[in-house]
Symmetry: D2
Subunit: 172 residues, 4 copies
């Protein structure tokens, strides 16, 4: 009925970009969000929050954010489950990002483009059914590290504990 999350933190690693069998892009990344208070031992801790973003913004995230980047996320909490390798059900709570905001100053790391662009915003590209956007088998033009992105039928999310990603996981 209402479900809203806003985060600002730093990526713990480079984002991970995958494609579903039908060619839809998904990026996943973890945000380290430092707490504003200290624990009983006087240490400042952080929450490590897993985030997922789909379609064009996923490719923007993969192209413009990297380990250590300061980013803002606006989205919602999503829970899902899948069968773990040991046979029992694994429950996941993560943030489905609807937009990701790049908060690094423009000249901070050199390989980033314009400042403060919002990666989920233009409503029509965000819309799965809108316009003429077809992400099927599409490859990003710009690619930070030139790797060949894994397609999901070639074992996506292998190292993130999720065995299989399908088009059924699409948020809308």
């Amino acid at each position: 009925m209402m479900n809203r999350v806003v985060l600002v933190g730093r990526l713990t690693k480079d984002p991970d970009l995958r494609y579903t069998p039908s060619g839809v892009a998904v990026a996943s990344f973890t945000l380290a969000v430092n707490r504003t208070f200290t624990n009983q031992q006087g240490e400042r801790e952080a929450d490590f929050i897993n985030c997922v973003i789909w379609r064009k913004p996923a490719e923007n995230v993969a192209n413009f954010l990297k380990k250590g980047s300061l980013a803002g996320v606006d989205g919602r909490i999503q829970t899902r489950s899948y069968d773990g390798q040991d046979g029992k059900r694994v429950y996941v709570t993560e943030v489905l990002a609807e937009s990701v905001q790049f908060l690094e100053p423009r000249n901070s790391s050199g390989n980033n483009r314009s400042d403060n662009m919002n990666y989920g915003a233009p409503r029509e590209q965000d819309n799965p059914f809108g316009g003429s956007n077809n992400y099927q088998n599409q490859r990003p033009q710009t690619n930070r590290n030139n790797q060949d992105y894994t397609r999901v039928d070639e074992d996506p999310f292998a190292n993130s504990g999720q065995i299989d990603i399908s088009d059924d996981d699409l948020p809308f």
Copy 2:
């Protein structure tokens, strides 16, 4: 750096109230938040989001909310980990509620008191060090179902998969 969550949904069960060894109250509950869109099969799904709240508001939650209650939560996402019974580390993502809003109409279920009271708000009772409030070993005056609340040294969170709760888990 920034971490904010707002949810409105219904409790999937009665809230679960525990006490730490030093007597601090903790309530946990799960909110079912219906999605506003349907999946590929045209079904409306829900996210099941685990929430935790501490101190006096925890007791209010235990006393005034029950399975099916419509409630709003304002808080933040918290991640933590503990050693599972099988020896490997379990990672948990949940919402630390800072305030819980009761959204049921006053006359809906009969045993609820005033409408729309906010359970975390009065800052001074919320403050662990503030004023003369001492929740240590305190028992709620009103008690919906008159059970004798488990103290944590008597196996708290036993059925929720967490073996041990300590005062170190206090959010501030």
Copy 3:
């Protein structure tokens, strides 16, 4: 760069539905949001927050909410200005609702349809350019009070202090 608002409160009046010259629906309403704390005199006060919503959700709001309805709003803060009748510029801060959640129990007032429907959600109807939706000159099928809705060239927002509304006010 980031701008997110979540509110739950009650409508102070029936919502006000207008149409731009090109036929786009706009509803405006005020939410009374009770504060969770009391002032120096021990009184509980409220904030009265003006909200605006466009297109199909505007018509849903007009059809399903009325004075006193409990509603949730997810949106963003918008500022705008116009020339007042006394010649000087008037500055307005209001909430642009992206979705409105009806939180009244289903049987509470009789003339409401299903419970907890979300009025802004289905992304494709929300999209101004999406699909085959054309709201131009469209009239709501269901109409709570059967009035003939004012079109904006017939002096819309006359009683709300804004002299003129145009298609330029569309949020996207």
Copy 4:
């Protein structure tokens, strides 16, 4: 009942720090929050959102933020009214910040201290009744521009259109 705002944007001017007659600090500032979409003319616009923060965090804001600083605000919307100089009531909608996050990189402007400190967080200093904090007549130790801060009985908010600020305006 629920009222939550999260913003990230840039200060349009240096923050304005005042004191109530009883010595409580208040800072006000405007955040320019760029929209993520463009208007009909293809221009990217911004919302200019007035924010207010009280007590110790107000002094931190005054000391560490200035025109152009990137900042995050977590708070709520507040409405209030006062009698304008022309005799008629003026209605104000603004954001009451509960915490302000400094998002500028540490070495960006030279005169800022540590990175990403949160200015409203430590709950006990935030609490008006908590601990031994007494802001009465207190002057900030660090002062960016060494001006002598106006006290409110010496015409505070004179240039912001509000004639008088009193301790009754304290949010809690």
